[in-house]
Symmetry: C2
Subunit: 403 residues, 2 copies
């Protein structure tokens, strides 16, 4: 780790100062040049030069006159451009595909989704269907004067650290799928990330303010149970990029065998299939009967709302087991908050009582437990925002500014 | 996290380039100016100016002529100074105190230790005894022409994120102890860190090469079981600085109650007190009979070496429980390697068979399990190296260069 020290050249300095100006406006809101200079501690002259470059590159826009609160004549207010670069996000779910575009201001500018039975699928046709949605969204935002700066794909599986390959996505039945060749690459080289990671980044960037502290364990579930660990505002990816596999933390010493090879894994007690089996349903049948993202959770939530004792008991048990796994995770990671996302957010009303009781019993003072506001939308929004964040982080990057 | 963007000024650039030159020599070994320039990708002229500053500040020294391998006349070889700044490290153990000094080259230049019954102690007298050792080591290295650049203290407990306070050290019986006032502050403002953190950093900096990858879970034990998580070469500290509490990961759903308030915690099955109880000894009595760092482990190791069936059974069980806790930790963190340090390194021969078997059963392919070479010395060396690393990281920092 210590042998590569990044050197800081004039070019690096300019890049970082450009990013600082953009974030001053992104985080602090539209502001005059003088106000931006105050926010980041550079001189007004230096900021003016940087702002001119960002205006020319189409990353900032002038948004009329405004008073800074200080005496003197009003300055021109700078805002992030809503006609400059935008981010394309895509999601490959087990039974749906979705694409959206967000502009630098964080507004969703276009969106498309289709049901798609992706379990046990061939990657080729799925990626071709997804590419059609991408083209649709791409054309829509291009017509609106925006410039897609990249495409990030959320995948329910393990993604290589270089973000080019889906190493393994058991619920799709995919192994070693290269996303950079083939139909998805038509507009820009796509990059991928695990859906739980992108869901957690979405929380950090646009979700509950508690997540902005940057030390958060974000728990999500679609079919499996995953989590993403944010530490000091960065995603903990692990050596191979496989960190966050909360679903395979042992909660029983000699428990049910799991597909991962282990036994007593959390997923065997709190995963979707376990919940469905606990209420007497065949998981595969349930997926056929209730296709689409979050459909089984919505169904179970409906039965819980009706007071179905089997469902209530299953969710109570799942909450307890989640509490045991999260006790261990809290001792290891000391997070500022635990966030329930994805399908778990939908089922939160019935999971939370036993989950918080178990955490309280074992931890005394547990970190606050927050239910995600983004819910199932997190990974898709996170994917699109990952692209716009990359533009803000490095405004000199190829592709950041319109050609 | 996103509202504070560090700005990069000329001063920052110079600081980083000075650090890059120092690390080029620290990591790559003594080298000529031309070789250093190659290693870090700056021009020879730029490197010469930086080197002059570092020679003047006493951080680098000229160490004779050497051939770079390239044609031409030999250049002067630069090395880190062994008469410039040094780091003071101190350790407060449950039954000992120790201090050492390391120079920029990583050599231990002075060292002192005493037995000291610190369990249930008043902080004042303990810190006064430690301060005497610090003065002794300080005077010894000062006489040798070195300049102590700071003092880091390794503590068996939780330390505040600003490194000034021991928040809680249950095995000492300490709560909210300020180290920056009182006898320790005689030479330089002391800073503290958890012993497991410093042990892990020592592994990263001077231990097994596998740890240099920067994604490592370092497990250590003195009285309790702690761990430190290195991710991308940085310590994961958590929100309050309490991350890494592996000893309180639940390994049994309804297990023994633990002092932490939980139940079934790993420490109840693999901690020192649990091992002593499992072989029919009273833990408090055993500490009195076998005082000093690592003494109980050495005693248990001796009995295991003699084939004592009770001890062998207890260690086998502890290995299995460690395997369950480390399975969960591996799923969450995806480390490149697991490192057994401290007392666990001493007992490794008898823990490893059941531990590796359990990891293999549950994980299939487990990360490599490495036994620390630094053993019980890790935290003390880590503390001293933390000071010299801070000098290399920021050569312009006050106190880095001799006054």
């Amino acid at each position: 780790m210590t042998t590569t020290r990044r050197l800081h050249t004039q070019q690096d300095m300019r890049r970082r100062n450009l990013a600082a100006v953009l974030y001053a406006v992104a985080d602090g809101g539209p502001a005059s040049r003088a106000r931006v200079a105050d926010r980041i501690g550079l001189t007004r002259t230096a900021v003016s030069t940087l702002v001119d470059d960002l205006l020319a590159a189409g990353l900032l826009a002038e948004a009329g006159l405004g008073h800074s609160g200080a005496p003197g004549r009003p300055g021109t207010v700078l805002a992030l451009s809503d006609r400059g670069p935008c981010g394309l996000g895509a999601e490959i779910g087990v039974d749906h595909l979705a694409v959206c575009a967000v502009d630098l201001r964080g507004r969703v500018r276009a969106r498309a989704a289709v049901d798609s039975a992706n379990r046990g699928s061939q990657p080729g046709p799925v990626l071709a269907r997804l590419a059609e949605l991408v083209t649709h969204v791409h054309d829509e935002v291009t017509a609106a004067g925006l410039h897609p700066a990249g495409l990030r794909v959320a995948v329910p599986g393990l993604v290589s650290r270089d973000r080019a390959h889906v190493v393994q996505a058991p619920n799709l039945g995919w192994r070693d799928v290269d996303l950079t060749t083939g139909p998805l690459a038509a507009h820009a080289p796509p990059t991928a990330d695990n859906e739980a990671n992108l869901g957690a980044l979405a929380e950090l960037w646009i979700g509950d303010p508690v997540c902005r502290t940057g030390d958060v364990l974000h728990i999500s579930a679609e079919i499996g149970i995953g989590s993403a660990i944010l530490t000091d505002g960065r995603l903990l990816r692990g050596n191979r990029g496989f960190a966050g596999e909360l679903g395979h933390v042992p909660v029983r010493r000699r428990g049910e065998p799991c597909a991962c090879g282990g036994r007593g894994c959390l997923e065997q007690y709190a995963g979707e299939a376990a919940l469905l089996r606990a209420v007497g349903l065949d998981p595969a049948r349930a997926v056929a009967d209730h296709p689409g993202p979050g459909a089984r959770s919505a169904y179970l939530g409906g039965r819980a709302r009706d007071g179905d004792p089997d469902v209530l008991r299953a969710l109570r048990g799942a909450g307890t087991d989640l509490g045991i796994a999260l006790t261990g995770a809290t001792h290891l990671l000391d997070p500022h908050a635990l966030v329930l996302g994805g399908a778990l957010a939908v089922l939160a009303p019935w999971l939370l009582p036993s989950l918080t009781a178990e955490l309280g019993r074992r931890l005394g003072t547990a970190p606050p437990l927050v239910v995600s506001r983004l819910g199932a939308d997190g990974p898709l929004l996170g994917a699109a925002h990952a692209v716009t964040r990359a533009v803000l982080d490095d405004p000199l990057r190829t592709g950041a500014a319109p050609a």
